[in-house]
């Protein structure tokens, strides 16, 4: 596996929506490299015929009866919002003005 560079960390941070500082880029590059080096061991044991396990409980498709259940009121749902307008979440600019 490749070593983790500052550019790699910058790329990961962009994907994860983290605006890291220059100091953080260098620091995390070093640490992620060490951690990834250690966790690479997983490739030593797992053979091709081993099924991957995503979850400890073997249940799927849990259904409930299709009936209305009261949810949060608009006031409750908006109670923690950073900004509200007309009973809606007010969000930062999504589209360019032009």
């Amino acid at each position: 596996m490749p070593a983790i560079s500052r550019d790699d960390v910058a790329h990961l941070a962009r994907l994860a929506r983290l605006e890291l500082t220059d100091d953080e880029l260098g620091h995390y590059a070093e640490q992620l490299d060490v951690i990834l080096g250690a966790v690479q061991r997983v490739s030593e044991v797992a053979a091709d015929d081993v099924e991957p396990m995503s979850h400890p409980v073997a249940i799927s498709n849990v259904f409930r009866p299709d009936r209305l259940i009261p949810g949060l009121t608009p006031e409750q749902a908006l109670s923690g919002a950073p900004a509200v307008e007309d009973e809606r979440f007010r969000v930062p600019r999504i589209l360019d003005e032009e």
Partner: protein, 486 residues
């Protein structure tokens, strides 16, 4: 009567019998918090008015002859990762500072139904990422045995609250050891139930396939009383197991290990564990054998890969779960000046709102899930998870319960490992396998090291056989005769 040194079971019985009131009990613990928490920092919020109102309601219900819940009037402190309607829930993070949830977690609702008094919300590593509570955005919690030391984590505040008798009971969450390891560090009982045994609805997710809430208490019987109240099937959590709660209270009352086979996991005993931890572990096995248990050795060869698999699976799940902190619907928003785009605001908010460990794990997960690396990292880790589950299945063919030390060391100084993630991660080497396989585990105190700090022992049982933990736990508790206090 000194309420703060009375068990939860006795407090509930005394309140029900009218020997004393829920208000008296609640007041005693609120006073204890006021006296001690300036130093310990176990609480992020103390709900004095809410706690007293609940206590008064219990006293009024009793006076009116109404039936009381099993924990009526007994204070419980709740880890700040579990939502409480009307009471702030921060997850130990700046990004949720001041957020007041509009709904109760199922665990919270179950507590209220049982008559428990929710006394406050406890300090924790940010979003439950850590083994020391140093990653809290609101300062570290301190170990009451020595306030220069960490109390373990991530549920450090909940462990401290019970160890320092600020609350007779508390609730934590355990994703890789976050109940059991702090229980060991602070000399209390902590249980991670079977995955799916306790609802995760309203538990702010770290890693959805690993997270499980469970009890902290000073005795095995108290832990069982809280476990029984918290647990049970919940239609709001699709991973909740639709089966009766294992008979934990009866098991804790019984404690007969005659003929039980206790398996010692060969891979989790020797090297890497502090000398006194090994000594007390061996002494405990001798006590269990003397009580009638049969000690057998089991081999779990893939456990040595558990830490590596965990630090791929957990970051992968958490990088996805924490994407919801996007500055839109709740929590912090930074840099919204009307000019910046939503993506810029998200990135600035997440940079300002998350601490170093959270960022580290989000990026690890983003890396492990990215195309080109997915098979080599996340895919391989999932296969190791299968191998670990198989190790457990084989071990439980020859043993009813497995035993290991809970943590490799006793409590360490605040600051010692905070910037050395790998060394911190090793704290959970014995506790992680249970989360990966979804089986239950318990830590209980079994002795003191040379410095007078608590040492914990872990039991693990097959899925939905949580009662076995309480049987062996009660037996060992009685044999050890633990009386040490911080």
């Amino acid at each position: 009567m000194t309420f703060t040194s009375t068990t939860a079971v006795d407090l509930a019985a005394g309140i029900a019998a009218g020997d004393f009131s829920a208000r008296e009990v609640t007041t005693a613990f609120l006073d204890r918090i006021a006296e001690t928490d300036g130093e310990l920092n176990a609480f992020l919020a103390v709900d004095t008015p809410g706690a007293l109102a609940t206590a008064d309601a219990v006293d009024a219900a009793r006076a009116a002859g109404e039936p009381l819940g099993p924990l009526a009037g007994v204070p419980v402190a709740v880890k700040d990762v579990i939502t409480t309607e009307g009471l702030a829930t921060t997850c130990g993070s700046r990004i949720l500072e001041g957020w007041v949830p509009p709904y109760d977690a199922t665990v919270t609702a179950n507590l209220r139904r049982a008559g428990a008094v929710i006394i406050g919300k406890t300090n924790m590593d940010e979003f439950a990422m850590g083994s020391s509570t140093e990653n809290s955005a609101f300062g570290p919690a301190r170990n009451p045995w020595d306030t220069n030391l960490i109390p373990g984590g991530s549920s450090g505040g909940s462990a401290v609250a019970v160890a320092a008798r600020q609350s007779p009971l508390s609730i934590g969450t355990d994703t890789g050891g976050s109940i059991r390891q702090p229980a060991a560090m602070t000399g209390v009982v902590g249980v991670k139930p079977t995955y799916g045994g306790v609802s995760r609805y309203g538990l702010v997710a770290l890693a959805s396939s690993l997270d499980q809430a469970g009890p902290f208490a000073t005795t095995v019987a108290d832990a069982a009383a809280l476990h029984a109240v918290m647990a049970g099937h919940d239609p709001k959590d699709s991973t909740s197991i639709d089966a009766p709660v294992p008979p934990v209270v009866a098991a804790a009352a019984n404690g007969d290990v005659t003929g039980m086979r206790i398996g010692v996991v060969k891979q989790l005993t020797g090297e890497g564990f502090q000398r006194e931890v090994r000594e007390h572990f061996q002494k405990s096995l001798d006590l269990l054998a003397a009580a009638g248990a049969e000690i057998v050795e089991v081999s779990c060869p893939h456990f040595e890969y558990a830490l590596a698999a965990y630090y791929l699976i957990l970051p992968s799940e958490c990088s996805s779960n924490l994407a919801k902190f996007d500055a839109i619907r709740y929590g912090l928003r930074v840099g919204d000046d009307g000019e910046r785009s939503v993506e810029q605001v998200m990135a600035m908010t997440r940079e300002a709102g998350f601490g170093p460990e959270v960022k580290r794990r989000i990026m690890l997960g983003t890396y492990a899930l990215s195309s080109g690396y997915y098979d080599a990292y996340y895919g391989q880790a999932q296969k190791v998870r299968t191998l670990i589950a198989r190790d457990f299945a084989q071990a439980f063919e020859v043993a009813d319960v497995l035993a290991t030390p809970t943590a490799p060391t006793t409590a360490f100084p605040i600051g010692e490992k905070v910037d050395d993630p790998l060394s911190m991660y090793l704290q959970d080497i014995a506790t992680i396998p249970a989360n990966l396989a979804g089986v239950p585990g318990m830590s209980l105190p079994v002795g003191l090291d040379d410095k007078g700090l608590p040492v914990g022992l872990q039991f693990m049982a097959p899925a939905m056989a949580d009662d076995r933990l309480y049987t062996t736990g009660a037996a060992l508790e009685a044999a050890v005769g633990w009386e040490a206090r911080p």
